[in-house]
Symmetry: D3
């Protein structure tokens, strides 16, 4: 009833480093507004940013056994991406598992469920994005899949996909598209830098992006107060 | 299908400054426990406090075009108050729009929807109260109203109303009532200061507000443990 | 319609001090994964930790009268544990009541409803766990019970129970079991300390807890990527 | 602290009858996609349809006193539209109040809170749209406003506005616009009837509304599976 | 880690029959507005009414083993009252377990979690109140308690308490208070019958309950429209 | 920015007919407790059952243009499975689109968003599973994908997958696995039929599935009340 797939491919350390300088919103835009996890996933401390290669885990409700199984599969640069097989807010993960993960090169956790020991995790600077904080303990009774494709917080994740997370949330980039999206994201960043200067100088998006005609065509009208 | 009303009246800079020293809870009480937005609106960083004159914006779901339109209407001291025309958690607003708004005198944003770039907005100290944080991008396709009366997070807001926001949430004061409410709020603050001293000295609300008789009349009885 | 039970027993100051060095997750585990309040209760600032003796209060919706009644019953070391008699997010409690509570020895508040003045409470370092932040004011019209057994955020609480709260949430320990649970929690802490060292050294839970056989028996299989 | 405005204008019986044959979605569209209450308001039985003149009521949390006050103000054709002054799911209304309302000409209730006795109300065929079903009782201690403008489930409602509700939800039409919107809604119904015939015959919206060019201009491309 | 308490007392068949003619709202009022479960518990079909003696069960998340254990403890007239040890929407119960329960005299189920086979359960007329409908299957791996005091949907339930459920929700009456509450509920029903006649005749609660003076004392004022 | 993939494969009419006699819970179990959509998807009327071949659609928030595009791709036996690209409760679909879909062979709709005209859809017996009912109208401005793999309510859906929905919810079966899962589901149904007879005769799951030893091994103990 449970499968562990060994030796899955990863995104390269170079790609991970490059993505580590980008924001989630930028990358999400650069790949056509796709790949975003639901906003219920929030970081346990802020500010924070993390990029890595997805190590996927399924978790039965109230059962964190597979996190132990996953750690053995970890390689430096991995981010564990864990999803419960049915909605669950229990605290699947805490400071002890973070210690174990860190020892095996895992740089952070994305989980559509609960975590605990958030004070200790914050002190350790072990980055976590979770759907809940809960001290509720879990059992170790039921097996599930590790390193198979999953859906986490509404986003499809395959083992080895690029995962990027920051204060805004979490986005996934297909491993084979990570180079192309990186280039697009950098281009977008440059355009945003130019736009930032223009906006700071008081120029309007209405003019810079030539919106006025389109607005008028859609029926936007201006009138004066009490006119 | 969309109207922009130009030249709406504002509350004065003096009033804005005066309200900037008051808390949301105090003002909400001072105007008879009205005008509060729903508690789903939370500041993106804390502590924070902001007063301003409402510049109202309607936003179609997943469409932030009208924020660009609104910026052109801004005057120093304005706070943009934006409401989606149907529930939406998308990230309508980020650091670029904040840069543009700030260049036009806007001092903050209240939005019953999502925002992104919260790390950058926090660094910029651009105050935002939102219902969600989401990197989800938006389009620019559909027009709506700017500077018309709206309902935002359950509260009616008219252009030029006084908006006050702090760590507790957001309250709206009708423009024409802002002077009267200010006076009432200051009076309330003074009463609270006196009460604070009494409470710190150990005096009880039961005595200070003569509650005992009322409690008894309503049927409150005292008994001893295991008696 | 309302009862106040005077002179309820408390957990000892020694026990409170001892629990103050433990975490919620540890204690929750040590007493068999029971006693946890629902994760909707969150601290208004972090990091924070608090142990105390429960002073229980029932609150009618939108009515905070009983908090005043409760303060008179307080003794040093008490934590007020308040539950609305029907779901309510109003701001029942703020800085003035905190001042009064502190003057009577109350060290913090756990409330399955809303609070306000969170900036001031944070500055005062008055610890609060609440289900909401809301400036919404309350009335003083209806009586209810103080120091009777209640259900708060899904957990049964009796007057004088040990309440422990930290960044992870809130747990309740029956007063008569507090000694036993304390011993179990300390033992658990020691075991965790040993495990922490092992995990940091790279040892796996799979081996340390001899999980491999059980996993296999439950049907976990390993395969190689693209094999 | 509470005001009752007597003698507010109503929409005419003729208008109420005319709206009673229209659907909420049609009217919402006909007035430019405005006036809709949040979808948390659901009918207690289905199918159901109701049109009437809004008799507005504010309700303190857990306090239904003002419903009694409102009944005295009722006239035949009125629909009571009630909103709590802070979020509340309590059962403000049941079969007894329905009996009293009906005796005074009230034809139904729209309430952004809870109701009870839903089996009896269903048998009586007294139409109710509510945000919750709850047996939780309420008190009669605090006054509020009757027949003043309110916000109910996100929509502004003024006394005497036209309220239309069916299985899809609740929409409000300003009293002064009710004639114009009625005409637009009827026109829309006729257009829909024509469209229904075309759709039933297999014609496509793509062709009937000439969408293909627009879709292509926006970047829609067609490809064959596995091509 | 799990206890089953055999031979717990029950409420009598006579009491169960007597309560079966009462409504949840009436009983909730008759015992001082206490004992109500949270309104998230809804019946899977309507109309429906059920009274019985509580057979309490704790359920680990995603694990329905204890329902099997509970059935052996059942006696005619029992209602199974089941609560997950942490929030869970999985489908713990379906038509097969209903068949088994019915064979052992269980007359219905109250569960603060999910159920499935609701079409079949509806056809069988096996009454169920649940927090969710979900086909999600569960495991049988972890033990928990049967026939011990629990908290279900916010209400304390002890084995053998009287449970009453209808279209409005679920209320619990302590076994030892069931006679007294029954008498109070019947008295209340009679008063309601009298009031129903008065209301149907057009008499106002304002007059029947002499509310006018109180309303005025609380500050309610009447004014005329446009006066 | 949008792709329509033509000529995607379907599951056969024979398979659709065969699945039409099975329940969602049974099929979900038969394929190893996978493929279930989140329980927020509920049928608009009950009882109802539907099997079909998935025709997948992405919907921008508040924009139903792609439903029109999808209809042209429909073949008899298709079920439209639609997911918004960000959370949205608007009423994307109503009676007119149902008429058009039915004319093109579509037998039902599964949508993780809102629908309207539910009274008319119920009368038409056009089966719909949705996350909300809302009259809120949508625009036709932005393109997206049709017949590409999507995530709907947490489940991965590929064009041509088998979709089965009933009163319990919605489950997806990979097209290539539909034969195997069908066989497993039928086998399960037979086992359930045998078990039903045993349960009806009063036999216990404890005995039929030999649970007693396992329960004891996990630490379940029996004690007598007040023993």
């Amino acid at each position: 009833m449970g499968r562990v797939v060994r030796g899955c491919p990863r995104v390269s350390a170079g790609l991970i480093a490059a993505y580590g300088e980008l924001g989630v919103a930028t990358v999400h835009e650069a790949q056509g507004r796709t790949g975003l996890m639901a906003p219920r996933l929030r970081p346990i401390y802020r500010p924070v940013r993390l990029a890595g290669s997805a190590l996927t885990v399924e978790l039965p409700p109230g059962d964190n056994w597979m996190l132990h199984v996953a750690i053995e599969q970890a390689r430096p640069g991995d981010v564990v991406v864990a999803t419960p097989t049915s909605p669950c807010s229990d605290g699947y993960f805490g400071e002890l598992l973070a210690t174990s993960m860190r020892a095996h090169g895992v740089s952070g956790l994305v989980i559509d469920a609960g975590v605990r020991d958030v004070a200790e995790l914050t002190e350790l600077r072990f980055p976590v994005w979770s759907a809940a904080v809960s001290a509720q303990g879990t059992v170790k009774e039921t097996v599930a899949n590790v390193q198979t494709p999953i859906v986490c917080a509404g986003a499809r994740v395959e083992p080895g996909d690029l995962v990027l997370a920051d204060d805004d949330g979490v986005v996934v980039v297909r491993r084979m598209e990570a180079e192309v999206v990186l280039a697009a994201a950098r281009k977008r960043e440059q355009a945003e830098a130019r736009r930032r200067v223009q906006y700071a100088a008081g120029e309007l998006g209405l003019d810079l992006s030539a919106m006025r005609e389109g607005l008028s065509a859609r029926g936007l009208v201006y009138e004066d107060h009490n006119a």
